[in-house]
């Protein structure tokens, strides 16, 4: 793309040309390049993760890094490959700190095209350089982020009322170049990376416990290299994200077929960003498919993980993580409201701290709860993208995609508006006259006027009281599963699997003008709780003994004897 219009008042190149590059930065770029040539992943990671950020804070908080072509090229022997990689970081910095212009957006897109072309269609087989896993994840992550940003930027421009001269120039440029950041090209890049790395085949082979030699044979000359393998793996997560953003929740979960969510030694945990992204989007897809129990499990798992690592993670990434976890708590609030579930105490407390008011509104039910749910949904959902191109001729049609997704989501939720209220009454009885229930409900100011309408509400309850839930029996059991560990969705096979189950812990049947309530409480498992708390008890005892205060030990002993009976 050479005919990019030059917007005036460019922040990037204009200002940075004037000032010479500080020596420290020059040295850094040279070292960066040296490590790249030496294929030293460890040092590269240091340069990328630490030095770059330090120098950004020192010199480049308000301006762009040195221009790749005019300023950096001479420092690195005009090495095209390194320049593409440097440009990736260069544009990412502009996006994060300065606010990109249309030119930046276009050039960054072209740079990604070059980068992926380089990796996918390198002459003479796979590329030989190696990059840190974190960087590879950032490439995929940023690629999708910029795609997302571009669609926001474009629809803002189209819907703008009073266009300046520059605006209209940009607009006509966009109209002529619809291929820039098109959904097609973005999907194409990710699918190509997956295809090249043969990552699906590799993961299937791993699951079937094939020997390493066999796996690398399957992986082929590209997939057996770490760079391709990692990129392929991250692209799968990228696809999960893109499909979700485009509103295709089914396909999103389907692309995750081969990735095991709950494996302890999971590759995911090594790159925190990838880890959170995966769980957030997988959980969100479940929510959109009204698979509440699965969504709750998925969100709980990752939120617990976040609370555990909160104190050790680096501050740089922490902001993004905090934002995401706030969003997940918001969604979790909706979920707990719609599908009352016991969650971990820590999470419950955090949730109460943030959204207790909203939760009580949702639990109360009624029309007011719907508004709360919509607000939480808007806060917690990702920034959706419309798959098709926006209409340049009729800007009115370019509505933010969230309105569509939110109103579709609410269609089913609206049917649950009486469920929580019904629950409070039905929990008290094993059978009751419908007339009696009607009287109760009338006193609650509901809009149910007669028995026939009540029967409709009850049938609707019956309809909303089912959800698909991931179950172990639906999945293929593997021998390595720990029996006592609660299984996350997709622990052993595809995330889409599942069987029908109830949302509430009771069910109803109607018999003319009588209603029967069937309790289906699942007995809680006590052993784990028991063992954990006994250990805790010992721990407290030890602490007390060490402090040489032995008087209080008596009380604990009582507890112990009680437990030993069991």
């Amino acid at each position: 793309m050479t005919d990019v219009i030059k917007p005036s008042g460019d922040i990037g190149s204009a200002s940075s040309v004037q000032q010479a590059i500080p020596d420290q930065v020059k040295d850094f770029i040279r070292t960066f390049y040296k490590h790249f040539l030496e294929n030293n992943v460890y040092e590269l990671h240091g340069c990328y993760e630490n030095t770059f950020n330090k120098l950004t804070d020192k010199y480049y908080t308000k301006s762009a890094w040195p221009d790749p072509l005019t300023e950096v090229a001479p420092l690195v022997d005009n090495d095209q490959i390194f320049l593409v990689l440097y440009s990736e970081v260069y544009y990412r910095h502009i996006y994060a700190k300065l606010g990109p212009t249309l030119e930046h957006r276009t050039n960054s897109y072209n740079n990604y095209c070059n980068l992926f072309n380089l990796i996918l269609n390198h002459e003479g087989g796979p590329v030989t350089f190696e990059l840190p896993a974190k960087w590879l994840w950032d490439i995929v992550d940023e690629f999708i982020y910029q795609f997302n940003q571009f669609s926001v930027f474009r629809s803002k421009l189209i819907n703008k009322k009073n266009l300046s001269e520059q605006d209209s120039a940009e607009l006509s440029f966009l109209q002529q170049h619809v291929e820039i950041w098109s959904s097609y090209s973005v999907l194409n890049a990710l699918y190509s990376l997956i295809g090249r790395s043969k990552i699906y085949e590799q993961l299937t082979a791993q699951r079937n416990n094939l020997p390493p030699s066999k796996i690398s044979e399957i992986a082929g000359p590209y997939g057996s290299l770490t760079l391709y393998k990692n990129l392929g793996y991250f692209s799968i997560i990228g696809l999960l994200r893109i499909h979700t953003l485009l509103g295709d929740f089914t396909l999103a979960l389907k692309t995750m077929e081969e990735i095991e969510l709950s494996k302890k030694s999971n590759f995911l945990t090594r790159v925190p960003g990838a880890h959170f992204t995966t769980y957030y989007y997988a959980g969100f897809c479940y929510l959109m498919m009204h698979r509440y129990a699965d969504a709750i499990k998925t969100f709980s798992h990752i939120l617990l993980y976040i609370t555990r690592i909160k104190n050790i993670s680096k501050s740089g990434q922490y902001d993004a993580i905090t934002k995401k976890s706030e969003q997940m708590y918001a969604l979790l609030t909706i979920l707990i409201g719609l599908c009352p579930t016991r969650i971990d105490d820590v999470l419950h407390n955090n949730l109460k701290e943030k959204f207790s008011e909203q939760l009580s509104k949702i639990v109360k039910g009624g029309e007011a709860s719907l508004k709360t749910i919509e607000e939480l949904f808007a806060f917690g959902s990702p920034k959706f993208i419309s798959i098709s191109l926006p209409s340049f001729d009729s800007p009115e049609l370019n509505i933010d995609a969230i309105h569509l997704h939110s109103s579709v989501f609410m269609v089913t939720v609206k049917n649950t508006v009486y469920n929580n209220l019904l629950k409070t009454y039905l929990n008290l009885y094993s059978s009751m006259e419908l007339q009696k229930l009607l009287n109760f409900l009338e006193s609650d100011d509901t809009k149910i006027n007669n028995l026939d309408e009540l029967k409709e509400v009850l049938l609707a309850f019956k309809l909303t009281n089912t959800q698909i839930k991931w179950t172990e029996t639906a999945a293929v059991k593997t021998a390595t599963n720990g029996e006592d560990e609660e299984q996350l969705p997709g622990a052993t096979s595809g995330l889409l699997n599942g069987e029908s189950s109830n949302v509430y812990d009771f069910d109803i049947t109607i018999n003319d003008n009588l209603i029967q309530i069937i309790e289906m409480k699942v007995a809680r498992k006590f052993s784990d709780w028991f063992i954990r708390n006994t250990s805790k008890n010992y721990f407290v005892q030890d602490a007390i003994r060490n402090d040489r205060i032995e008087e209080t030990g008596k009380e604990k002993k009582d507890k112990k004897t009680k437990k030993s009976k069991k």
Binding site: S183, S394, I399, V457, L463, I468, N497, I531
Partner: protein
Amino acid sequence: MDNTLVSVPVQRPSDINDILNSLKRYDVSVIKDLEDYLKVQCEQNFSDVNANLALLKLYELSSESLNDEREEATINILLLGLCNFYNIDFELYLHLLPVYVLADVTKFKDLSSEDSSIIQFCSYVNKLKELYVLLTSAKFTKFWSLLKTDDSYQDLVYDSYLADSFDSNIRNLIFNVVYKGYSNNNSQIKSKISSQLLQSYLNLNEADFGKFIESKKFFKINGDHVLINHDAHLIKNDDEEEQKHVSTNAHNSIISSENIKFEQLSRLIKESLEK
């Protein structure tokens, strides 16, 4: 509710299967194949959610303007979704439609006359959504009265590929829902539902209603009520289906047992030995 997203309909031909499981699903040239397959689904009265989702997505990706084929296919897909309102098919379809479909069309003031087809299309989708809302909130009587009295709804449904089977599909589904809501597995209690109510749910006249109920095993009209036997069979006659539905209202007490591994207790035992 069945998990229709993982099951592959037996009727799916292998070439469609190829398309769905490869990158061909993004190739505009397969639109025709998927449209033809959609017709087959309507004629043979089954639905393949994944194939239809792929078609809707392709329409969006190709950024093709709203032509007649696209409009027709979309409406038929949504009707198929209605015929499965028990699952969330319909919602999944809606998520993949153009972003403006559910917007308030009266607010589009500046649209040129060529866009009138868009407004028309939006109103169709909104109508179908309205029907879906009535079905999922179990307002069956209202559903039928809207469908049968409003011409615009009639045109929408009875000009489609599904014209012949739509009524009976929906009727059977409603019957299923009623069955689920009213049956129980207690042999002491025979459930019943007022004939009049059920008749209005199903939108049948006296004679047809009698025939309909007669065709269902274990259902009997008794005076002004319909009796539902506790081990009643479902309208669909394949055994698997029956098994599944009969068991849902079963009230089985669950005996829960827990397995505790010896290792888990090792710390506790160690502690007590040390004392």
